[in-house]
């Protein structure tokens, strides 16, 4: 297929507004008569609420509303997955330090904050649970009435006992990962405005505005057509602006409807850190059996996920983990169990990777440990066990599409000289020296889109104008990942338009149909297929117009550079003129696009099924230098290879890889959201340490393209797979340098030097 727009390195169509400061973020919006809201939070992470006295706060001059749970007209238990258990404002209990007790609207923020200090709450303090295994003890205090188990998923394949009895060695290891914050640069912000029909319009940085609208309608007890959500320019999300923003949208909307005035709330960084959900910490028990030649015969896995105070996405996050827990390997006998449990920490939910970075840390460092024990090179042990086209996954799915694992692993190993360097650095271990180099490999496969989590489809509306410009309206959103640019590229490719002729609309729930949430690295595949579908309909009508304008052709018209060409006679017409002609012919030049994703299946009892309709494959190699005296790790370089089907915008793919590795480095060696008896201790970036530009190494990308028949122009996904490999590659590199196996993250100074964390 001739590529006119798809596959070209394309500057982001939204970048100029962002770098010149002209982009409007939620906190930039000021509406006439707008009030400022404030959330009053609990003083204890776990307590019964006996009484809330708001009388004094209400009397403060300038305060227009003080609301508690009693003032919520609709439901007060919401959630984005299956279990709906989170209150907009706490009523009977508080379960973590982010829980709200009241919300206030006042003429200015200072007044609202002062009024907040006057609210008196009587608590009955309850014991705090921080650990998910402890939460599941019979005797533990119940955080929710139903008990502390959020969910349990399992996978059963083959015969685990037979598998272990075939093994020559069995390797067991416990891994622990930490809680991680998304660290989007823009904290949560939303503005609600009452509408004259009794409804409400909410502007804000909601990631999934259709989910926000559904929850707003339930909480406000309003029909969906009277709730309008408008997404403002997003200052990052990484999965983090779902639940927390839905709840904030409800809080501002409640205040706006109570006062009849627009209300804005923008969280400070500390409020954002305390309120928002995080990445699940995992405790993982892995047991793997192998033959002496490195062939894996069995894997038995038990995982406890720390779900925090509310269920949120735990059911889906842990499901993705259970599907992928054995990594990209052919293992005939598998038994995996994963449990998510409530604790009194921040609730945990969606974050880039969605349950995969944790398990990749376990299975990829374990592979290296097995290789070391068997005296096999880490490259060889992977080559022996990697899934190949036609193999069956742990969930019984036959991979009939092309499996690109060997390609991506070979690409990074060649580029980095991994095979030789690994052996050289290993031999260096015993030699004296303060700074030791190491190199590590990690690879994975990943199911694209929602899979058996839910209904999967995309829809859009394309409108060609009489001047030959195009408007795209679609519910798949741009949070900074470059969605609008690739959406415009797909339309440009089919309609022959240059990108300056294409606008992608800001998203408004009343104006674009729901395409499901922008999650699961599904944006390019889902929106690309929907846009392609719509653009083809418009193209057919333009072709009918062209037959009259420039004659018929049996070899097909060429759409390029805002022109349509008849290759048989060389005649050409502008798209503008073709559009005008189509209108005269009463042919529509607008179209709806629809794309239903292929079916998936899942049997919860056996953990078997067609989990995802297609997969992507990736590999990272990291080279590090470890200071043997201090435990300081410097990551020197990372090589990344990802099979993406088709790189629609190679520049965007590289951007995703750079960002994913930076976040992966944070997970691997730096970041940790810490608590003391349920109270967050690292609530700003002075103590919650994310990588700086001085910590992020040179990154070399090798993009592999094996077009997928399901993807638009063969494209699959890239956002999340980039985030699951840097951390295990770095940990493997530390082992290569030091000979010390690290099985907890972050591998900070203390962990690298002493082998374990130090607790205050």
């Amino acid at each position: 297929m001739s590529a006119w727009a798809v596959g070209k390195r394309t500057p982001r169509i939204d970048s100029i507004g962002k770098v010149t400061g002209k982009a409007i973020y939620a906190d930039d919006i000021k509406l006439p008569g707008m009030l400022y809201g404030k959330v009053v939070r609990t003083k204890y992470p776990h307590a019964k609420i006996l009484n809330i006295d708001i009388s004094e706060a209400k009397r403060v001059k300038g305060v227009e509303a003080v609301l508690t749970a009693k003032d919520i007209p609709g439901v007060n238990r919401v959630g984005v997955a299956i279990t709906k258990d989170q209150p907009i404002i706490a009523d009977d209990k508080v379960r973590y330090m982010g829980d709200a007790l009241a919300i206030i609207a006042a003429h200015d923020l200072r007044t609202a904050q002062f009024a907040a200090s006057l609210i008196k709450v009587e608590y009955e303090v309850l014991p705090v649970i921080e650990d998910p295994e402890e939460a599941l003890f019979e005797a533990s205090v119940k955080i929710h009435d139903k008990g502390n188990l959020i969910c349990h998923h399992k996978v059963r394949k083959g015969n685990i006992d037979a598998g272990f009895s075939e093994a020559d060695i069995i390797v067991e290891r416990k891994f622990e990962t930490q809680m991680v914050e998304h660290s989007y640069i823009e904290p949560e912000s939303a503005i609600a405005e009452p509408l004259d029909d009794g409804g409400v319009r909410v502007f804000g940085c909601m990631q999934n505005i259709y989910t926000s609208r559904r929850i707003l309608a339930q909480v406000l007890n309003l029909p969906m057509n009277k709730v309008v959500c408008v997404q403002t320019t997003m200052g990052g999300s990484f999965g983090g602006k779902d639940d927390a923003m839905n709840i904030l949208a409800c809080r501002v909307a409640l205040l706006a409807l109570a006062t009849g005035k627009p209300v804005k709330i923008t969280y400070t960084r500390d409020e954002s850190m305390i309120d928002s959900y995080k990445r699940h910490p995992y405790k993982m028990y892995y047991r793997v059996g192998l033959k002496n030649d490195g062939t894996i015969t069995a894997a038995e896995i038990k995982i406890y996920a720390n779900g925090g105070a509310y269920a949120s996405m735990s059911e889906f996050v842990t499901w993705r983990s259970v599907v992928h827990a054995t990594g990209p390997y052919r293992i005939p006998n598998v038994s995996t169990d994963i449990y998510a449990a409530y604790t009194n920490l921040n609730y945990t939910g969606a974050m880039r990777g969605f349950g995969s970075p944790q398990i990749a840390l376990a299975y990829e460092t374990l592979m290296d440990e097995c290789a070391e024990k068997l005296g096999i090179h880490p490259y060889e042990i992977r080559k022996k066990n990697l899934l190949r086209t036609g193999d069956t996954t742990a969930t019984g799915q036959v991979l009939d599409g092309k499996v690109s694992l060997n390609e991506v692993v070979d690409a990074v190993c060649e580029a980095s000289d991994f095979i030789n360097k690994y052996t050289e650095y290993k031999n260096n271990r015993a030699r004296p020296g303060i700074r030791k180099r190491g190199i590590g490999l990690a690879c994975s496969y990943r199911g694209v889109s929602l899979g058996a989590e839910g209904v999967d489809y995309g829809t859009c509306f394309l409108k060609l104008e009489e001047d030959g410009t195009l408007i795209i309206s679609i519910g798949i959103t741009d949070m900074g990942q470059g969605a609008r640019t690739v959406q415009a590229q797909f339309a440009a490719e089919i309609l022959g338009l240059t990108l300056d002729r294409i606008s992608v609309l800001d998203i408004n729930t009343s104006r674009a149909p729901d395409s499901g949430p922008t999650v699961a690295s599904r944006g390019t595949l889902i929106s690309g297929n929907a846009i392609t579908n719509a653009a083809q309909k418009i193209r057919r009508n333009l072709e009918l117009a062209c037959e009259q304008l420039i004659g018929k052709t049996s070899s097909g018209f060429i759409f390029e550079n805002n022109m349509i060409i008849n290759p048989e006679n060389g005649r050409a017409v502008s798209i503008k003129d073709a559009a005008a002609k189509a209108i005269k012919m009463r042919l529509p030049i607008h179209a709806e696009g629809f794309y239903p994703a292929p079916q998936t299946s899942w049997d919860e009892a056996t953990g078997q099924g067609l989990a995802y309709f297609t997969y992507v494959y990736g590999a990272n190699v990291a080279e590090v230098e470890v200071d043997m005296e201090t435990g300081k790790v410097n990551v020197l370089k990372v090589w990344a290879s990802h099979e993406v089907g088709k790189a629609v915008n190679p520049e965007g793919v590289e951007g995703q890889i750079y960002g994913g590795i930076a976040m992966g480095l944070g997970l691997g060696i730096l970041e940790e959201f810490e608590f003391k008896n349920g109270v967050p201790q690292t609530t700003n970036f002075d103590e919650y340490l994310i990588p700086t530009s001085m910590d992020i190494p040179e990154i070399e990308c090798r993009i592999v393209e094996n077009p997928d028949p399901i993807g638009p122009f063969g494209a699959k996904s890239i956002g999340e797979p980039t985030n699951e490999l840097a951390a295990p590659a770095i940990l493997n590199a530390i082992f290569n340098a030091t000979g010390k196996r690290i099985s907890e993250t972050p591998a900070n100074l203390e962990v690298v030097l002493l082998g374990h964390k130090l607790k205050r």
Binding site: I434, T630, L689, T692, M694, L749, E750, L753, L758
Partner: protein
């Protein structure tokens, strides 16, 4: 959100001293890189008087006074890290200043603020303490000069009286031949608060150590020199074995003075290594 602020902005030292005399609870604002963060933690209806000294030009100087270099308290970390006098006479002060925070913090943060904030993890005090630097404090009644090591008395506590303003930091030049080093251990490569830091100045003459100063931050309750280590080194020939032994001495002093804490299992071997490495570096960096 900031508390209620009464903001005063003197342009001369005398004006500032009058304001300090009249406002006993005033806070002094220089670069603000520590103070503003602290103020945001106060209740919003608290009344705070801020005396912003950043417009007092007479506090911005670096002067060669013959035997001494004098530094005005408003000199920023950025300026110090690039100043030619400092690079010539006290290169490890340049190193320390360029290791602080980020470009933004180095452009705003001042040496006076770094001293007066009294953080045990601050990066300029180890150098200043190693050099026996002094600070001059002025109030309406007069002025006094004391050692930086006597000025910072406990974490975030100094000898400064509410009426006093730090007006000068004075460093005695060392005779030629000293080697210097400053080593900082942070969790990341920029914007890192020192887990520990160390400054060394050492004079080796005719193969033996004639004078050595070792000062550590985040090792003892305040930044201080380690006489036990310095005395052990005096008169000996530099060697790796010797420096390793000194590392042990400093780490034992840390446990003796600071007690055994949650972080000791990590800090003890690491400070020992940092001492060794900074001594090695100081020998290698001698200005001859």
């Amino acid at each position: 959100m900031l508390p209620e602020i009464q903001y005063l902005s003197p342009t001369t030292v005398d004006e500032a001293l009058n304001m300090l005399y009249e406002n006993k609870n005033a806070r002094i604002l220089a670069g603000g890189t520590d103070l503003l963060i602290e103020l945001k933690k106060l209740p919003i209806n608290e009344n705070v008087t801020l005396i912003d000294i950043s417009k007092i030009n007479e506090l911005k100087y670096i002067e060669d006074e013959g035997d001494f270099i004098s530094i005005g308290p408003l000199i920023t970390h950025q300026e110090l890290s690039r100043n030619e006098f400092i690079k010539k006479w006290f290169p490890f002060l340049s190193t320390a200043c360029s290791s602080i925070g980020s470009p933004q913090i180095r452009s705003r943060g001042t040496i006076g603020g770094n001293i007066c904030n009294g953080s045990p993890a601050a990066d300029t005090p180890p150098v200043l303490v190693a050099l026996d630097a002094t600070v001059t404090l002025k109030n309406k009644d007069g002025e006094r000069e004391l050692l930086v090591s006597d000025f910072i008395i406990a974490p975030y506590k100094t000898e400064r009286k509410p009426s006093e303003l730090l007006t000068k930091i004075r460093l005695r030049k060392l005779i030629p031949g000293y080697g210097f080093s400053f080593i900082k251990l942070g969790r990341r490569n920029a914007l890192a608060i020192s887990r520990m830091n160390i400054a060394v100045a050492m004079l080796v003459k005719e193969g033996v150590i004639e004078d050595v100063r070792i000062a550590c931050g985040s090792v003892f309750p305040t930044t201080m020199r380690v006489p036990a280590a310095e005395n052990f080194l005096a008169g000996k020939k530099p060697s790796i074995e010797l420096f390793k032994d000194v590392g042990e001495i400093v780490s034992n002093e840390m446990v003796r003075i600071s007690g055994y804490r949650w972080s000791t299992p990590y800090k003890k071997p690491v400070i020992s290594a940092m001492v060794k490495n900074s001594l090695v570096e100081a020998v290698g960096r001698r200005v001859i």
